[in-house]
């Protein structure tokens, strides 16, 4: 069991979401940075994780378990001693894990072997706050943990660094792209946007350009919207929709951020630069990243005395 000792207002249990309910008006939801979930799975195995926005998170483990902290960089300490991110660590019963975000990136994940065993609702264990499924975690919450198959301890060969500072978001044209004049599409690609302060699991606002309006059609029939869609508000300001977006909407959408780049959009902290570029479907398919690679965890012996002093359970470092 994991006990939450302190958490920010946007700390929730998340998994890959609950797909299959679009006809019922429920978006799949799921982790804001799905690549971080792939990385968590590579290190500790499949299962739900704790997702935390930039705010300190402190938990106490009520059993020995394998833990990994991923995504937006944070200072992670166990009983005051630093713990590397993006690596699997076997921590003892009673360990207190503190995660303090550094301000780079937006979403940090705490994953445990076996996964967070929150109750399954409509096929998922994560919170979907807008839909009223689950809720944000609070100090005092106790979360059950599932059982895990043993696996060698490892760290990520390449972690989240490449998707944390903003950058280019590749866009696929969609059903409404053609409603925007060529000039607006060209200007969209030429505009150096920054991630606005406004943003959450429903989506993020891009600032730095506006007036991206469609031609002629003032009132659009409400139609399906998906995570990744770049939606223009009435003022023609772009929002990139997140996993907790509504299923339908009446604002026009100029395109859809490809799945490979959506984690980069969601992990952009306020102020991070973002550019948009249209790509072909072939380019989008080719951009799908391979599963995260891991490498065996070999400890620097200089780290060991301190860690052993904190009663970390036996046989945990440098397992075969």
């Amino acid at each position: 069991m994991i006990e939450i000792l302190a958490s920010g207002p946007l700390t929730t249990v998340q998994d890959r979401g609950r797909p299959g309910h679009l006809a019922r008006g429920l978006a799949a939801g799921g982790a804001a940075d799905l690549r971080a979930l792939d990385e968590a799975e590579a290190l500790v195995g499949p299962g739900a994780v704790i997702e935390s926005a930039p705010a300190p998170l402190t938990v106490r483990l009520h059993a020995g378990m394998r833990v990994a902290v991923l995504g937006a960089p944070a200072a992670v300490t166990v009983e005051g001693r630093a713990l590397a991110m993006e690596a699997a660590h076997d921590l003892p019963d009673g360990a207190e894990v503190q995660v303090r975000p550094t301000g780079r990136g937006a979403w940090t994940y705490l994953a445990v072997a076996g996964g967070i065993a929150a109750p399954e609702v409509m096929g998922g264990r994560g919170a979907h706050l807008i839909a009223g499924i689950g809720r944000a975690l609070n100090a005092g919450d106790r979360l059950e943990v599932g059982t895990a198959a043993p696996r060698p301890a490892a760290r990520l060969a390449e972690g989240a660094a490449g998707r944390l500072g903003g950058g280019e978001l590749r866009l696929l044209p969609g059903p409404q792209t053609g409603l925007f004049p060529r000039e607006a599409r060209a200007r969209l690609e030429a505009t150096p946007f920054v991630r606005d302060a406004r943003g959450n699991r429903q989506g993020i606002k891009l600032s730095g350009g506006d007036g991206f309006a469609t031609e002629g059609q003032l009132t659009l029939l409400s139609d399906f919207v998906r995570a990744g869609d770049v939606q223009m508000t009435g003022a023609g300001e772009p929002y990139v929709l997140g996993p907790e977006c509504q299923t339908t909407g009446g604002y026009p959408r100029i395109g859809t951020v490809i799945p490979a780049d959506l984690p980069r959009a969601m992990q952009a902290a306020p102020g991070a630069p973002l550019r948009l570029r249209f790509v072909t479907r072939a380019e989008a398919l080719a951009a799908t990243p391979p599963p995260p690679r891991t490498e065996p965890l070999v400890r620097d012996p200089r780290d060991m005395p301190d860690l052993l002093g904190y009663q970390l359970i036996d046989g945990v470092w440098g397992e075969p």
Binding site: L220, P259, R281
Partner: protein, 242 residues
């Protein structure tokens, strides 16, 4: 733009559009076409869903898009999806208090429709409506299509908050809110039925294509029927049709 048409929607979905305007025939086509896809899903399809004027087809593998699109074109050509008998559905009678404190804007809506308040309440209770689509929030129905006299624009300002169960009207449709929410539509009635209830056997009870009637009764009766309903359906009567 010719309809129906198929466009990619992101990497993992296709969107089949029957219209870009609210049209009875196009919406019926969405429901019928989607039901046929659910009955016999083409290979490579993970999920389908209807909206007011389109059907979303989510792919199990983005690389299958071309094959699925070809299968969808074949299905589209097979019949006139907007005509003929609709697929099996249910008829819901939702206990409702129309007007008064439960429909504070019925007067405005009635005037716009050229009716007095009593006649407007009777007309809304008699109006045959369908669930055109579920969306915006989980289980939230768009009901219609109401006759042309109900083609009211949205309010210029927002009503800061309506109660759960509020039925609000605009643009020849009604929407039923499940939670407290701001709205630009005008509230004409209130029901004890909740579109989304995780404690119910089926959290989302309505489906696109279902028929809906407002069943007018006094407010205390609406509340009593909902309170006594072990099915958690707000005292609604439900029967299978077709």
């Amino acid at each position: 733009m010719g309809f129906p048409r198929i466009d990619p929607l992101g990497l993992d979905a296709l969107l089949v559009r029957f219209s870009d305007r609210l049209e009875d025939r196009a919406n019926r086509a969405c429901v019928a076409f989607r039901a046929a896809l659910e009955d016999a899903p083409p290979g490579g399809v993970a999920e389908t869903a209807p909206s007011l004027g389109s059907v979303l087809v989510r792919l199990s593998d983005p690389a299958a898009a071309e094959a699925v699109e070809a299968a969808l074109r074949e299905r589209l050509a097979a019949r006139d999806w907007g005509g003929g008998d609709p697929p099996p559905r249910r008829l819901w009678r939702l206990p409702c208090a129309i007007g008064g404190a439960d429909g504070p804007q019925l007067g405005e809506v009635a005037r716009a429709a050229g009716l007095d308040e009593r006649a407007a309440a009777d007309a809304l209770a008699a109006a045959p409506m369908r669930v055109l689509a579920l969306g915006f929030a989980p289980g939230m129905p768009y009901l219609g299509i109401l006759p042309p006299e109900w083609d009211l624009p949205r309010q210029t300002g927002l009503t800061p908050e309506v109660e759960p169960g509020a039925l609000v009207l605009a643009v020849r449709q009604m929407v039923l809110f499940g939670t407290r929410a701001p709205t630009g539509w005008r509230q004409v009635a209130r029901t004890g039925f909740r579109p989304f209830d995780l404690d119910r056997e089926a959290p989302v009870a309505l489906a696109a294509g279902d028929e809906v009637r407002l069943w007018a009764m006094p407010p205390d009766e609406v509340d009593a029927r909902a309170a006594e309903d072990a099915r958690r359906l707000g005292g609604a009567e439900v029967e299978a049709v077709g």
